[in-house]
């Protein structure tokens, strides 16, 4: 339970603790000669109440990393912890519960159930769990994302940006330990994209949430606290306090590596 005092953690200094951690994380697809190594002994820590971006060229393993950290995918070897819980080795049922109660998701598209209105979509994970949302927190999330007068709209009545904001609110509503966002701005125009990124930033700054975002847009990555660069299944670099230009420069070097 966060108290209002704990919310402005950014001002309170560097983040305390680790939200998720992986050690020797390896993921291979197939076997024998056709085996593809998606993740190659990755060690990573995701800082609590921070906004981490994961970047890398296509096929670098960034989505796989996110899926493994979120308990969506099984690992070939290595261990993954969410907080103090080791999630490698958990059964399907425990993983489902873990995702439901402790993790929030945002996807590139098809984020919302077309049959439910915005509010119902936002509270869906808690409804599934049979828990009541904390009304104060919910109100705060809805307010922060500017969705107050859109709550009874169906997804088809909302713009793409509004839909993604609803998805963002859904990820935040259960106050998860970790939010994973997979290309959240990929399907949005630049203005809506900026808006959504702003909200993610605010979720970290004002609501003390932890966000991990996979993207290949340097501009989006620039909103994060830390960028992790992946290539060929390994974390090859990281960049604190990134700017769009710096990220772009770094990404160009991947192209160079590949061309040579």
């Amino acid at each position: 339970m966060s108290t209002p005092a704990a919310l402005d953690r950014r001002e309170a200094g560097p983040p305390a603790g680790v939200a998720a951690r992986a050690g020797g994380l390896t993921k291979t697809y197939g076997s024998g000669e056709t085996a593809v190594v998606a993740l190659d002994a990755v060690d990573v820590e995701i800082g609590r109440a921070r906004f981490t971006a994961v970047m890398g060229p296509s096929g670098s393993g960034k989505s796989t990393l996110m899926h493994c950290l979120a308990g969506l995918d099984t690992v070939t070897s290595g261990r993954v912890w969410l907080g103090d819980t080791e999630i490698t080795g958990l059964g399907e049922r425990e993983l489902t519960r873990l995702r439901r109660d402790r993790i929030g998701f945002m996807f590139q598209s098809f984020n919302l159930l077309p049959t439910l209105n915005a509010l119902e979509n936002i509270t869906l994970p808690m409804d599934i769990a049979g828990r009541r949302p904390d009304p104060e927190w919910l109100d705060r999330v809805v307010g922060t994302l500017g969705l107050r007068d859109r709550l009874d709209h169906r997804p088809s009545q909302l713009s793409g940006g509004q839909q993604q904001r609803v998805a963002c609110a859904r990820a935040l509503a259960s106050r998860p330990e970790l939010i994973f966002a997979d290309e959240p701005t990929g399907n949005l125009d630049s203005r809506s994209g900026l808006e959504v990124l702003g909200f993610l930033r605010e979720a970290v700054d004002r609501l003390a949430q932890t966000v991990v975002m996979v993207t290949h847009d340097p501009g989006a990555a620039a909103h994060s606290d830390l960028v992790l660069f992946l290539a060929d299944g390994r974390i090859v670099d990281e960049m604190p306090q990134p700017t769009a230009d710096a990220v772009l420069e770094r990404m160009k070097r991947f192209d160079g590596v590949r061309k040579s």
Partner: protein, 866 residues
Amino acid sequence: MLKATLRSFFAHKGRMLLSALAVVLSVAFVSGSLIFSDTVSRTFDRLFASTAADVAVSPKEAFEQNRGFSSGLVPTLPASVAEDAAKVPGVEDVHLDVEVDNLTVTDAENEPLGRTTGPPTIATNWYVSDRSPVELSDGREPAGAGEALLDKDTADRKDIGIGDKLNVIAQPGTFEAEVVGIAKFTTTNPGATVVYLETAAAQRQLLEKPESADPEAGDAAPATSVSVDAAPGVSDAQLKKRVKEALGGEYAVQTADEQAKSAAEELGTFLDIIKYVMLGFAGIAVLVGIFLIVNTFSMLIAQRTRELGLMRALGADRRQVRRSVLTEALLLGLAGSTLGLLSGIGLAAGLIETMGLLGMNLDAAEMVVSWLTPVLAYAVGVGVTFVAAYLPARRAARVSPMAALADLEIAEVGRPMRVRAVLGSVLGVLGAASFVLCATADRTRDSAVYLVGGVVLTMLAVVAAGPLLVRPVIRVLGGWFPRIFGSVGALSQRNALRNPRRTGATAVALMVGLALVGGMSVAAASMTKSFDEEIDRTLGADFLVQSDNFGPFPREVTERVKDAEGVGLVVRQRFAPLRVTLPDGEKTSTSAGAFDKELDKVSRLEYAEGDTGAALAPGHVGLQRQFARDHGIRIGSTLEVEFSNGKKAELTVGALTKQETSGGFGAAGGFFLGMQTLEEYLPGGQEAVVFVNAAGGTDVDRLRASLESGLADFPQVKVRDQADFKELIREQIVVLLYLVFALLGLAIVIAVLGVVNTLALSVVERTREIGMLRAIGLSRRQTRRMIRLESVVIAVFGALLGLVLGLAWGAGVHEVLALEGMRAFAIDWTVQLAVVIGSVLVGLLAALLPALRASRLNVLAAIAHE
């Protein structure tokens, strides 16, 4: 384009599977019933052709007797006919035939050998000719009285062997016979239980000598017919002419072809009924199949909107798109028809096997597949698929090239349903009007026609308007889901509401079968209640003595009843098949009941005019007022009546009853007359019912006991009080009802496939959505429940539509029955409740695989799916 079509067909073959199954089932039913009836009629044609004598001489019968109301009289001819026939030039051989079916044969345990329903028990005389359908497979021929052969099928079934004793309860008297041999059918055994006796013994022990027998015929015992075989070089027709000349016009003389033809005709009516009933159900299966196919194609096209748009963008014109979809339908139809035809052959084989269990041994038969069967199979299979795919194909052709570019979800969801609303209301109003006409019509036939019209119109109305009813009904139906099943319940309800067209079409397919079940059950319940009331109102006797199949029994039974201790009054009833020429010139074949004159003491007939005494007086007759009115008959009218032995009489109408039930089909007019009148014209029949009243001061239970012990030798008859009699009637109706339910089962199976289909395709369509739900924490079990609840709500929706429609149809059927005098209306709520509960089970069953599939969905693959 064709290549693309073929690719698409094979790419979607999994999704086509259930539609194909519907085609297969429909076609299988159509072709199976055709093959079965062709096989049976061919088999019997052969049997008749091979066993008929070149020329047969038999007593003249005025008209075909109605088997349900047999007089129990065996028409005979004197044995001298055989001697006369033998003298005719060109005759090679003459045989006397004695064959009766008005008897019961029991084993040592006093159990009848024959079955209560179905094929009869026959006793006949044994002689061997090249026409015999049987051969002696074991033992020896019967050499005199007290010896018999038994057919092998019965012997095997009843475990009777050589040396066992049989009891033959024949009209002249019961006698015992020892089985000395077993006769095996070399051709098809039609299922009868057959006992063979030595000819002289058969003549003496099976046949009564007619009282009016010509004294000059001397002591020669009668026969039932004479078989005459032609010498080589003499044709059947020539022989027939000569025999006829020699014998005069007193007897019926038929060639082998004519005998086979009349036998086949008799059987043909029965086979036709089976055939049309089965084709009727095949029709329902086809109808339900159409819904399923329409739905599948609509869904496939909705899913492929983009692909079709791309084809249009690349330059395919509308006709090409439409043709492409129709080609897929054609392929589906061809594949389904082929499999259906093969399944139909299997189904026919199964039916033949079933007939074997019922006693009709068709083992020797080879299956007949006439050219018409495959033609019809393909016509039905391909035709149905084509028709069903036509609308979706047109819709596909309307997909704009823009669809390839736009990110449309499902294009058809939002389309307004104004056309459906208008069509549904118009059809509904017409249907309702038809039902009103049905209720107000005076004649049964008109009323029945309006009923059929009303049924078809209201069904089409619901088919058209079904999708419109989805929202309001499912809102209410699934309204409590969220409260009980939480958000999973809410999701299910919303999913069912999501595409009303699809939900509607799926539910409507289920509705058709269930509406028929509901309607039939209302009709059956109303009939039962009417009969119950009728029995209460009119039956005054303490007991009825009657056989289980309502058939006549030997007169000795009546003697035993009269002799039983405590019996006060006995009133006999016989049936007399009649042909009546009505004053309006119409001729009607019916059956009259003949009663002893104390009828009033065992029955409470209500008369409009006249009384029992007047109706039963010699030379008089009574009938229903309504029938009399319809045909211009009044008290005192004379009716020209012909009995089954060809005797004609002028009977005076003595009384008109208020009786409303006609007493069963084939007994139009409710004619009844005095036993004395019947004996005068048609002597020697058997009683079908004996009414018994206790003597003063005798306890009915004591009477029952004494009757039962007195009748112990006649296991085919039972002593029944009113309650037992009601139960007997009820059982008859229930058996019929279950038969209909079993056949409707097929329509329901197809409808269930439809629900499976809809759910399976919905799961595919919502792959991403389900993946997302799983990602954010919906457990596998919750996923399964979500699909299951959606399925249940669709099924229950279908069941409710079906029930409402079924009740309306049942009420319509009741209006028709009321014109036949069955006025009571009753609803069997257990059946209605069973339908609703059954539909929940259907929903759960249908959701089994789709739910499993949804819950096993690979979450990562689902959210990455593009």
